[in-house]
Amino acid sequence: NANGSGSGKISVGIVLPTKDEERWVQDEQRFKDAIKDTKYKTEILFSQGSPAKEKENVETLINKGIKVLIICPPDGDAAAAAVEAAKKEDITVISYDRLITNTEAVDYYVTFDSVAVGEAQAQYLVDHAKGPGQPLYLYAGAATDNNAFLFFEGAWNVLQPKIADGTFKIANSSEAEALKDTAKLSRDQMSKIVGQVTTSWEPNEAKNKAQTHLTAAGADMKGDVVILAPNDGTSRAIADVFATDSAVTSYVISGQDADKASIQYIIDGDQSMTVFKDVRTLVNDAMGMAVSILDGKEPETTGSYPNGMIDVPAKQTDVIVVEQSNVKEKLIDSGYYEASEFTGL
């Protein structure tokens, strides 16, 4: 279980969004590793995608006397109530990876910018374009998930000019096609597209959608294609479908999170890339910040982000694009994963 269990005074509370996604299980592990080196006690709780459970978790941690709260919300808007409760107790709130918006109760932000993740995914597709007129398949996360919109927003920022200039043509979304000349999508416009191409973050749903889309696509929408897949789980499912369609001669597909399962796919050439968010850096930044605060020092920041109410001082970590050519260097050599966990390296 989480370190520092039992009932002793806890200094740092960590709340992560869900254990249902591999990404956050990784974060848990990295936090546990980072904790070993500090003299402070910490505890990690999961919200299982529910802002209500998140609030309960925060309250529990407050009860246990934390001084610093590191929190990554399933929903950045809905977390305001939770952190405001913490703020009332003079707890320093560090928004981890996802920014908590529309509240003054956030002190710091440690991030891989979600919008930047989408941009990195899209940029990879653009860099590997065989255009002009190359078919582009769009997929998004859950229509119920704010983060899915942030990723998509980033991707659209990069893709839209290339769609407008004819490098890509959209293969699977009439809504996106209709909006292809709009550079900056409103939330409403985005929701129309996302509603059409949502995977609900479910690999099975992604697979169903991909099959349907390939059924619907004419020969001109096949051949060499590029695919925007929102994360690794859905990316693998979509890639599986495209790989079995004989009319698709090649595909470039994005991903995110550097799941072990996807790293193997990248090594095998089944998935093109993944956006690697080196959780260790983020964890170290967050824990470093927490320790500074506990030690009474001013933590170091590199900039600031507006959250709708205030500008939150932030420390930003760059995301790393991992592909077949650099997978060993970025993930194995850096000690993030063991080479033995994969085959064919």
Binding site: G49, A80, E84
Partner: protein, 391 residues
């Protein structure tokens, strides 16, 4: 000793009813010991009760639905949907809170009416009708929130429902005065009611417990109320959520035990055919119960939305199962006709205590699921066993 014997028979006869309270007590004791007292701290208990609010309210409504042998799976997303509508009314239509709340509650009744039509008039099994409702509300919730995503609410009044506390008046040695007064009021009302009840019974020459036993019971319950009040007053006092919960329980308890309507509900649950032949309008009762469920779903949605100060796109997910679990842990019988709203509230608190206690202990989420499943099973096994024994 005579008193001891009386206690023993009382416990034996009422074991099913007391079982739940004993279980709650044991769970609380275990967690208190294991967390070095942290569990029973003012703050934790206060938080725990607040976190139970929106489920407890649903569980009350669900109790009646199960009593009349139905089920309602749509309440979760219905609550989420109505919470979102509330958020929209406040943030976008600029309707004041005092107007929004009644509007939403009426909307809840309409939603209940809709279920009532399907179940009572068309005659679809409620399980399927509400499964369809669940899908429809899920879609509707997405529909109203997909334009904006999560809707933040900045309205202080509204947010106080889920996060605020009743005013303090004065602070007496770290305790919230108004809360203390409220607690004292409860005790006085309770004692007065019990005494009048006993006097009345004696007047009609009905059987009552011995005087000693009666005094003991009064003292015991008063002590518990006092203790809970003292704990709650030690943090911020009664929250509005707890007050709302209490009001709902009191109203529904009164409704189910003291009124003709309440009796008719239990009659319908116990034997719908016989109820019909006794001149009870079964259809009407079914409508009323589903409307009450809709009303409480709306209230639950308001509590939840206010608690998070925002309406989210996934609000309401699995609320229905939590509410149903709470009702069953609270002793409702699937065969119909049996179940108390007070029991369901205790059931909801038991489940919330489990979550809270395990969080305090840092139990992993996978074990939390398994333990909650185990407790649910254990509660129903206990219920079935004691019922077999008694009858």
């Amino acid at each position: 000793m005579n008193l001891f014997k009386e206690t023993k028979t009382l416990v034996k006869v009422n074991i099913r009813e007391y079982g739940m309270y004993i279980a709650l007590f044991v769970i609380m004791l275990v967690f208190t010991v294991m967390t070095d007292g942290l569990f029973i701290s003012s703050r934790n208990i206060s938080n725990l009760l607040d976190a139970t609010g929106y489920i407890a309210v649903l569980a009350v409504g669900m109790t009646l639905v199960i009593v009349i042998r139905h089920i309602d799976l749509s309440v979760g997303f219905a609550a989420g949907f109505m919470g979102a509508i509330a958020a929209l009314l406040i943030t976008q239509a600029g309707i004041p809170v005092v107007l929004t709340i009644p509007i939403i509650l009426v909307l809840g009744i309409v939603v209940g009416l809709f279920n009532g039509v399907l179940v009572a008039s068309i005659g679809i099994p409620s399980f399927v009708a509400s499964l369809a409702g669940m899908l429809i509300f899920r879609g509707a919730l997405l529909r109203v929130t997909e334009k904006t995503g999560t809707i933040n609410i900045k309205n202080e009044q509204f947010n106080a429902i889920g996060n605020g506390y009743i005013p303090e008046l004065a602070n007496v040695g770290g305790l919230n005065l108004l809360s203390l007064l409220l607690g004292a009021l409860f005790i006085v009302l309770y004692i007065a009611a019990e005494i009048s009840k006993r006097r009345n019974k004696l007047k009609y020459e009905l059987e009552v417990v011995s005087g000693q036993m009666f005094a003991l019971k009064l003292a015991f319950v008063s002590a518990i109320i006092a203790y809970v009040t003292w704990i709650i007053a030690g943090y911020n006092g009664f929250s509005w959520t707890v007050i709302i919960m209490l009001i709902v329980v009191v109203i529904y308890h009164f409704l189910t035990t003291k009124t003709v309507l309440g009796r008719n509900i239990y009659a319908v649950g116990s034997n719908p055919e016989a109820a019909h032949l006794s001149g009870i309008n079964v259809k009407k009762i079914t409508y009323i119960v589903f409307c009450s469920m809709g009303l409480l779903s709306a209230l639950s949605g308001i509590l939840y939305t206010s608690r998070l100060q925002s309406a989210t796109t996934t609000a309401g997910t699995l609320f229905e199962l939590d509410a149903i679990a709470a009702a069953y842990v609270g002793g409702v019988s699937a065969a119909g006709g049996v179940g108390k709203v007070t029991g369901s509230i205790i059931g909801a608190i038991v489940m919330a205590s489990l979550s809270s206690g395990m969080n305090l202990l840092g139990v992993g989420i996978s074990y939390q699921y398994m333990i909650r499943g185990g407790v649910l099973a254990a509660a129903v096994i206990f219920d079935v066993m004691t019922r077999k024994q008694r009858s």
